[in-house]
């Protein structure tokens, strides 16, 4: 009994140690990148560029938080980009075509994210579909609805305040949309690490059967995870709409690849049971700063793609090797 408890404690602290190392490693990579770009180009290490980077990361940052929850449960959410697109269309439609007030339109837009989240949750948690297939399906359906709603045409002429909100910030240092992202990341971090539900999410991802035998209502936990993820994507969609000043059905298409990369760089395992919001956000920053820095240095876009791929594979390789070593 005591021996068992000791083993558990050891494996918990090992896991804790693994994550801590990955976090340290990616923080070093992030620091190295910043130094490299600061030296390599005049325009990188300026307040204005910092502001730009925060603006550029806002949407991806929020969906990365959502993806973290999903990946920890051992699932994946491919419908994120589509949810962003549909949310921008529905919210814009409410304001422009139906003349609804901004708060009401935003609530309805968030509802879009929740509905897709509920759909994903039902398919995955209660009908037992693999997350990849279920969210691939919901992605197609959501993309189609976004295009059908207005025949693929964009919706513009949003109220003036919307684009201003997206462009402005506190003292030209932190954009409004980045503040929202930071608050969400912080709150969700606390939620994941310091609540029972957060612990259940790790449990379900580590070993769903054991979790169920331990009394965790796994299906309910999975379902709620996807609903939460959908809701957060709805928020990302609203922010995307503000950035684009319009409802664009194809906005955000493919963005889930970025959020998945960020989570994995941050130490998340696609097999489930591991990951952290902090790590995922550092992963998101690495990718955004990489893109920003390379562009400022004038590196061709084809090279940008290559380098981003190398960094992603490199970060995951380090993580995989460290896990193997710790297992030995």
């Amino acid at each position: 009994m005591v021996a068992q408890r000791n083993t558990e404690r050891t494996s918990n602290s090992t896991k804790h140690h693994i994550l801590k190392s990955q976090l340290a490693t990616i923080l070093i990579i992030l620091a190295l990148l910043i130094v490299f770009f600061a030296i390599g180009s005049e325009g990188f290490f300026t307040i204005k560029n910092c502001y730009n980077i925060l603006q550029q990361i806002a949407v991806i940052g929020i969906i990365t938080v959502a993806q973290t929850f999903v990946i920890i449960t051992g699932g994946i959410d491919l419908s994120q980009g589509a949810v962003i697109g549909l949310t921008t269309v529905i919210t814009a439609m409410c304001m422009v075509d139906f003349g609804l007030s901004i708060p009401i339109a935003i609530l309805l837009g968030l509802l879009v994210g929740v509905i897709i989240g509920v759909l994903n949750g039902l398919l995955i948690a209660y009908l037992g579909l693999p997350a990849f297939i279920a969210t691939l399906g919901s992605m197609s359906v959501t993309e189609a609805i976004a295009l059908l709603v207005k025949g693929g045409k964009d919706i513009y002429n949003l109220p003036q305040g919307i684009s201003e909100f997206a462009q402005q910030g506190i003292g030209n240092v932190i954009p409004n949309i980045a503040i929202i992202m930071i608050i969400i990341a912080f709150v969700m971090h606390i939620f994941l690490k310091h609540t029972c539900f957060g612990r259940y999410i790790y449990a379900v991802g580590s070993n769903e059967q054991s979790a169920r035998f331990s009394g965790v209502k796994t299906k309910s936990v999975l379902f709620r995870t996807y609903v939460l993820a959908g809701f957060l994507c709805g928020i990302a969609g609203i922010i995307m709409m503000c950035r684009m000043s319009g409802g664009v059905a194809i906005a955000g298409k493919g963005y889930q690849m970025n959020s998945i990369s960020a989570v994995v760089i941050g130490g998340g395992s696609l097999f489930g049971g591991e990951g952290s919001i902090t790590g995922a956000m550092v992963g998101a920053f690495i990718m955004t700063i990489l893109a920003n820095g390379l562009q400022i240095m004038g590196v061709s876009s084809y090279w940008q793609q290559l380098i981003t791929g190398i960094v992603l594979v490199g970060a995951v390789l380090m993580d995989t090797m460290r896990r193997k070593k710790n297992l030995n």
């Binding site: 070093i28 000043s245 906005a251 940008q304």
Partner: protein, 355 residues
């Protein structure tokens, strides 16, 4: 383990350093000179950096535009201490938000001028206005901004070009006003104004010149050749009286061409926007009747010239039409046609399209 980790970190950074060596140099010292009306003019004879931000990396059209820009850079480089043309674009023209980021990062990078082909007339508006306020000159090519707050617009009037295309098809390929039957359209998307304008222009032309003909509508191809092929094959199966197919860009046209060959439906006539070698060969064979050609090379060339003029403190026309040319089987070997084709294919000779 620590050694391995640090080794890989160094490898990652190393790959960045390697790229650092192969980047184009940024503008060095800039001197902003205030002209008489208070506007700041970059009087930089130490080298100029112009960035061309296209709609996507997917279409060859942008390579032609870039070639034109680079030609102007080479021609006028000496006067300016060297002109560098940088290029970047989102992977797909659906990622409109990426263009905002590209424009903002260009301003941070300190470029002197921007040539932008906006994938949406409104999405990059704020970023372009910010760029102008930061002292960067911005010219929109191919697609205009709405409201047109860039320094200038230089592009094709897509509506007129495709209307002319429709007129040619009706008068020369069909039976003029008495023409009957159906026509279908393949559009690369319905979100960018460039695409929508071409479709609207063609339909407008068809309705004006062949009022008895019926449109079967449009299908979206996403510039995917294989997908277009399937779509067109289905369209042919579904409509027995199909007389004309219109494809509004080069890839949609290739897919349409393949489908016509595959189905053996060579009684259906096709026309398109933009051109490439395969389409030219098909035109000689009589499968493609007409192509509306834009002037991508000129857009790049003149766009750079306009930016240089603005940097000199001169004025440029706010909006100008880069022109279009209706290429047909009859005129394809004339000097004018060859010059128009050379906008797309550098150094083209008529023999290149003969098998």
């Amino acid at each position: 383990m620590k050694k391995l980790v640090s080794m890989i970190s160094m490898l990652l950074v190393g790959s960045l350093l390697f790229t650092g060596c192969s980047t184009s140099s940024n503008a060095t010292t800039e001197q902003s000179v205030e002209t008489s009306d208070g506007t700041l003019v970059t009087n930089n004879k130490d080298g100029v950096v112009i960035k061309f931000i296209a709609m996507s990396t997917a279409s060859v059209y942008w390579s032609s535009l870039r070639a034109g820009a680079e030609a102007a850079a080479e021609e006028f480089g000496d006067e300016w201490g060297g002109i560098t043309i940088q290029f970047d674009a989102p992977e797909s023209d659906t990622d409109m938000a990426k263009q905002i980021d590209l424009i903002n990062n260009s301003v941070s990078a300190g470029v002197d001028g921007l040539l932008v082909a906006p994938s949406s007339p409104t999405v990059p508006h704020g970023a372009i206005v910010d760029a102008i306020e930061s002292g960067v000159f911005v010219i929109c090519v191919d697609q205009y901004l709405d409201p047109m707050d860039a320094n200038a617009f230089f592009g094709t009037n897509g509506v007129q070009a495709c209307k002319d295309l429709a007129e040619y098809m009706v008068e020369n390929v069909l039976d003029g006003e008495e023409s009957t039957g159906k026509y279908g359209s393949l559009v690369y998307n319905m979100t960018s104004l460039a695409s929508i304008d071409r479709y609207d222009g063609f339909v407008e032309g068809m309705e004006a010149f062949a009022p008895q003909m019926e449109s079967v509508g449009y299908e979206i191809t996403d510039s995917d050749i294989a997908e277009t092929q399937s779509i067109v094959a289905n369209m042919i199966q579904a409509n027995t009286d199909l007389k004309i197919l219109f494809a509004n860009n080069d890839r949609s046209a290739l897919g349409t061409l393949n489908a016509l060959k595959q189905e053996g439906s060579l009684d259906i006539k096709m026309c398109c926007v933009d051109v490439n070698l395969e389409l030219l060969q098909a035109m000689r064979q009589g499968i493609v009747q007409a192509c509306a050609l834009q002037m991508p090379y000129n857009q790049g060339y003149e766009g750079v010239k306009m930016l240089l003029a603005l940097m000199n403190g001169e004025e440029v026309p706010k909006e100008s039409d880069s022109g279009s040319f209706i290429l047909t089987q009859d005129n394809m070997d004339t000097n004018e046609a060859v010059a128009a084709i050379r906008q797309y294919i550098e150094g083209y000779e008529p023999d290149d399209s003969k098998n």
